[in-house]
Symmetry: C2
Subunit: 316 residues, 2 copies
């Protein structure tokens, strides 16, 4: 049994081409080749824990991923996200590898999914990227967008000036031009590719400021009580995409919009089907498109398997 | 973060008094002090995986336990049960300890629960113990019964003569007198404390051979498709006890009996309430009692916390 630490994972990651790996995973998922049981969820006083697990039929491993969000952690100098991934043999149930990623691989695969969505749904050209949330995920989303979007003009929204300043410093170092704001409506009016990446429980983006041709990827809401988008955004969108339709019926923006009576299930298209071409993506420059990413175990299977395989390759 | 291996766990276990620890857990569970979300379940071609998790409100840790059963494993010289337990901080979500128990702690806490049940529900005297299933769990059940039942006369049922012979050798070494059989009806007629510990998917014990005053603990069935007891046994029993009523509505013997229309929910009493005295246990020598143990996360919380605490104590 192999234990791989966060430090080792970080050394391996740059050598991996995760984009096709995770894109392939979404495709297989929508084709019904992946078994993904319902998410395990635990709500504690200080945080929340998600257990995502599953396997690709005929594959080598099954993967169980534990990821937590304890949003007061930064007050103690700790990361809000945490967790680990476990790979087991589909033949014997033996534990083959523990990836002590401390939530890092979850953050990465979430950001990669954001980039995959942008590749398929972003308007062309993107004139300005809007990032809602100046935390870890807000950074990673922008980082991975680099490969699929030429635009380097960015507006970032946050609630803390200090956090926004740090974000600007970090991401300008990566070659972006960053403007910070505390006004989400300004961001909405100026950006046509928007990613929301906060743990908010109330809508941050409003239907009122929604511009023609905008694409929004909502990655923050992964429970039944988190929400970043006004349900009317989904109601008025020309296309609403879910990473997993089954999952988005029970959590995330689509769930919230349906709960509010602003959406019907058959309006939703699955990401894997857009990737494979089975469903139609953005049809023109004017369409408003929304993708709701709640995070599917197939992403964890993809990234965990890729890291472990590379580690074994490196180890000879 | 601490990693504790199976070898280390085995060194610690003899020093632990698990019985009161797990008894206390069942009591707390029935009092509503424990959060135990629904079991995560994954059925693969060669085996099955259960994820059990939860926390005691106000406690230090939350525990996630992964346990698998791959019943062809013994053909390759591997144990059929496998898994690990993880302890995380309730305050920060940080992983504090990995118990690489390979399923051993699950086996132990299941056997301890069997002994707890026997303490509260076994007839007095037990004139002969019947063990259905000559595997690991069949051994451990008998081992832990030692402390609560004076009887050393045992009949064990199994399908393989070789397995039965090995069982006899092992358990006679522990001070029992063992008779082996391939006839479950014989076992039923001769034993008044019976434990079933197989992964069977069809009833092994029949209502026809049920003797007055018998207690049966069914530990094998922990899914919606496994079953060891004829539903009519539960129908005719004077008392039916569940480790968790919620869980036994969806899996195990009680689920099977309800599915067959032989049981109603309000006949079922919860183990923790019998331990606390809130519910009445066996009322007389003649009653037929049945306990259905599907395995509750609170047992995992109890045993994982006990092992980790002892380990830290030993480490100074």
């Amino acid at each position: 049994m192999q234990i791989i630490t966060l430090e080792q994972i970080k050394l391996i990651l740059p050598s991996l081409d995760l984009f096709p790996e995770i894109e392939k995973g979404f495709k297989a998922y929508s084709e019904g080749k992946v078994v993904v049981p319902p998410i395990g969820e635990m709500i504690l006083e200080k945080g929340e824990v998600h257990i995502k697990y599953g396997f690709v039929r005929g594959g080598k491993y099954y993967v169980i991923k534990i990821a937590s969000g304890f949003y007061c952690n930064p007050e103690y100098g700790l990361s809000s996200s945490n967790g680990l991934m476990l790979l087991f043999s589909q033949q014997t149930g033996e534990l083959e590898c523990i990836l002590l990623d401390e939530g890092h691989l979850t953050n990465i695969r979430t950001a990669v999914a954001g980039a995959i969505v942008a590749k398929h749904l972003a308007p062309d050209p993107v004139h300005r990227i809007g990032i809602v949330g100046a935390g870890i995920q807000g950074r990673l989303q922008l980082h991975y967008l680099k490969d699929v979007v030429a635009c380097r003009e960015v507006m970032v929204w946050g609630t803390s000036t200090k956090e926004l300043d740090l974000y600007r410093i970090d991401m300008e170092r990566e070659g972006f031009r960053i403007e910070t704001t505390g006004d989400a409506s300004l961001l909405q009016r100026q950006c046509n590719l928007i990613v929301t990446a906060t743990p908010s429980k109330r809508p941050l983006l409003s239907d009122v400021y929604l511009e023609e041709g905008t694409h929004i990827t909502a990655v923050g809401s992964d429970t039944a009580d988190k929400q970043e988008l006004d349900p009317e955004i989904l109601q008025h969108a020309d296309l609403v995409v879910a990473d997993s339709i089954v999952q988005c019926m029970e959590r995330g923006e689509i769930f919230k919009a349906m709960e509010a009576g602003k959406m019907v299930k058959n309006k939703v298209v699955e990401l894997g089907n857009i990737i494979s071409g089975t469903s139609t993506g953005r049809a023109n420059k004017e369409q408003i498109t929304v993708a709701d990413l709640t995070g599917v175990a197939v992403q964890d299977i993809g990234i965990a398997t890729a890291v472990y395989s590379a580690f074994r390759g490196h180890a000879g």
